[in-house]
């Protein structure tokens, strides 16, 4: 067992006296049941437990957030799309495709971020505002980390472009610049604005030298004394060698040019060109990569990774990916300066700079409140073939473990479970088993939902689950007296036993009431009749009634006989059938032939002789026996008479 990474949080259950320390619990698929007990060795447990309730504890409350819901839905689409194009990803286009997928994920996060930000500043009530603000910072941290992972692990930018990507990364995530710029430029006299130099500095820190030059030219226009210095500095900015995407110069060339330019800047500084303007001088120092000058701008930099990127821009522009972590570590130390300790976000970014993917994922799992981020990021990195099969103690690899956790969380929601199904599909080892367990436990409030669940099961050949779900639904229908629904569920599950149960119910209703209920169902059974013997009997019996009603006595008679001789009639019903035969026997014309009469007699004998001796003589029983005896006697009489008539009829010639 590994040691704990952090202290587990304590959650108090309302109503339970935690001082007594008497609780029992049981795990479920996504939740835990807890209740208070009163086991006590020393004292007699004659007191009731303090809290009579059973509590259900669920960890995953993000699943119910309105805005995160969109994140889950959209990312599901991207996830499934990625799994599907996996086979087509080959060769050079593979990397571009994967980068595109990564950008899709990030744009979804940004969209949610925007929306949540709007809600947070809408100012409905302070508690939810705070909640939203926490979510906003969580989402923006996620996007920050994902972006860095994309640059380092998926894009795998080499030295040179690496710095450009990192610059973009920083520019995207430190966004006060735009509002500041709007502020300053919007004023009447920008260069006299109190935060003018802040703006210029931050533009230089972010490597946006063209914009900084424009600012300087404004300053030059309003302040003629510094015009000369501004021009020189502007030239320096313009001539700084950068690697542009279409440029074909090699890294060594760039390095040489940059070195040359750097020396030029240094010379200006030594000569004191900017001595008379402290602003311009500090700008020059920044462009030389002077750490002290950079650290003075801590407030504008606002975090250590901005410091890192600026530092790299102005001192090591051709940094190699492998060397990043040296600079990262030192930047972090310098920036924090021993005053504060690194936060979880800092640790995650540092792990990324060290190219330790497992550490990144592990730290993110601990720091974030749900599995969404780590599940999707790990899956994407797995497609980039970056994760070795890191076997965990429970037999599946990390990607599968995270996906399973995430999908299980989705099943706790009444409608997002459909997304979870697809995630389970793409977990080769334990996905199917997990799906089988979860899908049976979805609460089925409407038939439409049940149909969707059944469709999922049938598409994956989970016949056990289909049968069990149909049985639950059929039982519910029977209890609600919806026999037609019960029958249609048992037909879907091809459940002969349940069909028998439903037919028995119908037959019982008939015996009690003397007529059929739900004729529309029985009359129109169709091929479903074949599902169970009892059902066939029911259908045929109803047909007998119909034939009798239409006065097709001969057909009715042979049907009745076949019902008894083919053994599909339950024994208990034979008396009823024989009683039904009575009116046919008593008709003026002879309906039953001699053969048929013999058959009927045989059935009657079978019935009367086969009846077991009952133990207790009941008064009711005796009366019943009385009625029974009378019936039997009447039948015998009728059969005998019919036999006589049929023998005569068959023995005599026609036409007399």
């Amino acid at each position: 067992m590994e040691e704990l990474d952090g202290e587990p949080t304590v959650t108090l259950i309302p109503g339970v006296n935690s001082q007594k320390k008497q609780m029992c619990f049981d795990w479920g698929p996504g939740e835990m049941l807890v209740c208070e007990t009163s086991f006590n060795k020393k004292e007699k447990s004659d007191m009731m437990p303090g809290c009579p309730f059973i509590h259900i504890i669920r960890k995953n409350e993000d699943v119910y957030s309105q805005i995160l819901r969109k994140l889950f839905n959209e990312s599901h689409g991207i996830f499934v799309g990625l799994q599907r194009i996996e086979e087509e990803l080959t060769g050079k286009s593979r990397k571009t495709q994967l980068v595109r997928v990564s950008k899709n994920y990030r744009s979804v996060i940004r969209a949610c971020l925007e929306e949540m930000h709007q809600l947070a500043i809408a100012g409905k009530d302070p508690a939810s505002d705070r909640q939203f603000s926490i979510q906003v910072s969580s989402l923006s941290a996620m996007e920050l980390i994902w972006n860095l992972c994309e640059i380092l692990f998926i894009e795998v930018a080499p030295a040179g472009p690496l710095l450009l990507h990192l610059l973009d990364w920083v520019q995207l995530h430190v966004c006060e610049v735009d509002s500041l710029s709007a502020d300053v430029l919007g004023s009447e006299n920008p260069s006299k604005h109190e935060r003018f130099w802040n703006l210029v500095t931050v533009l230089v820190l972010q490597g946006r030298l063209d914009e900084a030059r424009q600012m300087l030219s404004k300053e030059a226009n309003t302040n003629p004394t510094s015009a000369g210095m501004c021009r020189i500095l502007g030239d320096l900015m313009r001539t700084m060698p950068v690697l542009s995407p279409g440029n074909t110069q090699t890294l060594t060339e760039l390095e040489l040019k940059w070195q040359h330019w750097h020396e030029g800047c240094e010379r200006h500084l030594q000569d004191g060109t900017f001595a008379s303007s402290p602003h311009l001088e500090s700008l020059c120092k920044i462009m030389l990569g002077d750490e002290a000058a950079l650290l003075e701008q801590k407030e504008l930099l606002s975090n250590w990774y901005h410091f890192l990127v600026t530092r790299l821009l102005y001192s090591h522009p051709t940094v190699k990916p492998m060397d990043l972590h040296f600079y990262a570590q030192s930047s972090l130390d310098l920036f924090l300066g021993g005053e504060s300790s690194p936060e979880p976000l800092d640790n995650i970014l540092m792990a990324a700079f060290e190219f330790d993917i497992h550490q990144v994922i592990k730290e993110c799992s601990i720091a974030l409140s749900n599995w969404w981020f780590v599940a999707h990021l790990t899956d994407l990195l797995d497609h980039c073939k970056l994760l070795q099969s890191h076997n965990l103690y429970f037999g599946s690899n990390m990607r599968e473990f995270l996906l399973l956790e995430y999908a299980s969380g989705l099943f706790a929601h009444h409608s997002l479970w459909q997304l979870g199904v697809d995630y389970f599909d793409y977990c080769p080892e334990l996905g199917r088993v997990s799906l089988e367990l979860h899908i049976e436990r979805i609460p089925l409030s409407t038939e439409q939902k049940a149909l969707k669940v059944l469709r999922v099961c049938e598409q994956r050949q989970m016949t056990e689950q289909v049968r069990s779900i149909c049985k639950i639904l059929a039982m519910k229908a029977v209890r609600n007296n919806r026999l037609g629904s019960a029958l249609s569920w048992s037909i879907r599950a091809k459940d002969a036993a349940f069909a028998t149960l439903v037919s028995d119910r119908f037959l019982r209703d008939y015996c009690e009431r003397g007529c059929f209920s739900d004729l529309d169902l029985i009359d129109n059974l169709g091929p479903a009749m074949m599902l169970s013997d009892r059902l066939t009997f029911l259908g045929k019996y109803r047909e007998f009634h119909r034939l009798y009603g239409e006065k097709r006595f001969v057909d009715a008679a042979s049907l009745l006989l076949s019902l008894m001789t083919s053994q599909i009639a339950p024994r208990t019903f034979w008396m009823t059938l024989l009683t039904d035969a009575l009116p046919l026997l008593e008709q003026k014309q002879v309906i039953f032939s001699a053969e048929q009469t013999y058959e009927l007699m045989r059935c009657l004998e079978d019935l009367t002789s086969g009846r077991p001796v009952r133990g207790e003589p009941d008064a009711q029983q005796l009366q019943d026996d009385d009625v029974e005896i009378t019936k039997v006697e009447m039948l015998r009489l009728a059969l005998a008479r019919n036999l006589a008539r049929s023998i005569i009829k068959e023995g005599s010639l026609e036409g007399s």
Partner: protein, 303 residues
């Protein structure tokens, strides 16, 4: 579970809690408010008994001022707006679940159920029996949706659990006029276009939404330029054995000659999505909603 406009301002909603609600739309501030509600429209055991349980209301159809609802309890309710109680209730109209309902003529409705039967009910008659029952022979496949042709009140289209689209002529016999194999999973909704009834739309659990074009006066349309991608022409095969069909009032859906008549089918959603649960169409606009909690809108249906 179902939604329909009652008039310009009011919408009737059927809920899985068995409750039917009329919402009033306020266009000036874009809000909805509850105008009327029948909370126990559908139930298995009534509010009086101890084990009272509600049943989902599965379908609703309106024809001002009447509202007809059907539910999993096999009950049909006739409501009138602004009346507190139901005007008429047919209890135990069906022993299985009623999935959808549509008006044939104003006093007559048609319901479909989960044992594959269409039942016509006439409100002018007393009693709780349907005036006509139609069904397929063969497998009793549950029917999930039904829609009536806008102009010809005897032509009805239904969609089933196996994704089959059937066209019925309720005047003639008890069998469908044509059976078209369509989707791979349950067909949730079928709609005739209200002003262009030669066009039919279906949506299904398999994540697709199809546009069926049976207009026979259009010459061979080049299928490459159709909106939405995948396109196929499909021959309808009919199982009707009526020898004498009146040639005069024939609708293109009832033509039974497979050689002459071709229906063009277009899939309107470009990617495979989760189930498309519901759709509605009016003029050149079509709206549909999927299980991925996305709503798709197109405003250029026939361009």
């Amino acid at each position: 579970m179902d939604l329909q406009f009652f008039d310009q301002e009011r919408i009737v909603a059927a809920s899985s809690t068995g409750c039917v609600t009329v919402f009033l739309h306020h266009p000036n501030n874009q809000t909805l408010s509850v105008s009327q509600q029948w909370t126990t429209a559908h139930y298995h055991t009534g509010p009086g008994s101890p084990s009272c349980s509600s049943a989902p209301c599965t379908g609703v159809v309106c024809s001002n001022p009447e509202i007809v609802t059907v539910g999993e309890d096999g009950r049909i309710n006739l409501f009138r707006a602004d009346h507190k109680e139901a005007i008429r209730t047919i209890d135990n109209a069906d022993s299985s679940t009623l999935h959808a309902v549509t008006f044939l003529r104003t006093p007559e409705i048609l319901t479909v159920n989960s044992i594959g039967q269409l039942k016509i009910w006439d409100f002018r008659q007393q009693g709780n029996e349907p005036s006509q029952i139609l069904s397929l022979t063969g497998d009793r496949v549950p029917l999930h949706c039904v829609d009536r042709h806008p102009n010809q009140q005897h032509v009805v289209a239904t969609g089933g659990q196996d994704g089959m689209l059937s066209i019925w002529d309720v005047r003639q016999g008890t069998m469908p006029v044509s059976l078209l194999k369509a989707h791979e999973a349950e067909m949730w909704e079928v709609h005739f276009h209200p002003s262009n009834p030669d066009h039919l739309f279906t949506c299904s659990e398999d994540g697709s939404l199809w546009h069926w074009d049976a207009s026979t006066d259009v010459p061979e349309k080049s299928s490459l330029f159709h909106q939405g991608g995948r396109n196929s022409t499909f021959l309808s095969h009919s199982i009707s054995n009526q020898a004498n069909v009146h040639q005069s009032l024939i609708s293109s859906w009832l033509i039974t000659d497979p050689a002459k008549d071709r229906i063009e089918i277009t899939s309107l959603l470009p990617n495979r999505t989760l189930s498309v649960n519901s759709l509605d169409v009016l003029g050149p606009c079509l709206v549909c909603g999927t299980d991925a909690e996305a709503i798709y809108v197109t405003r250029q249906l026939f361009s």
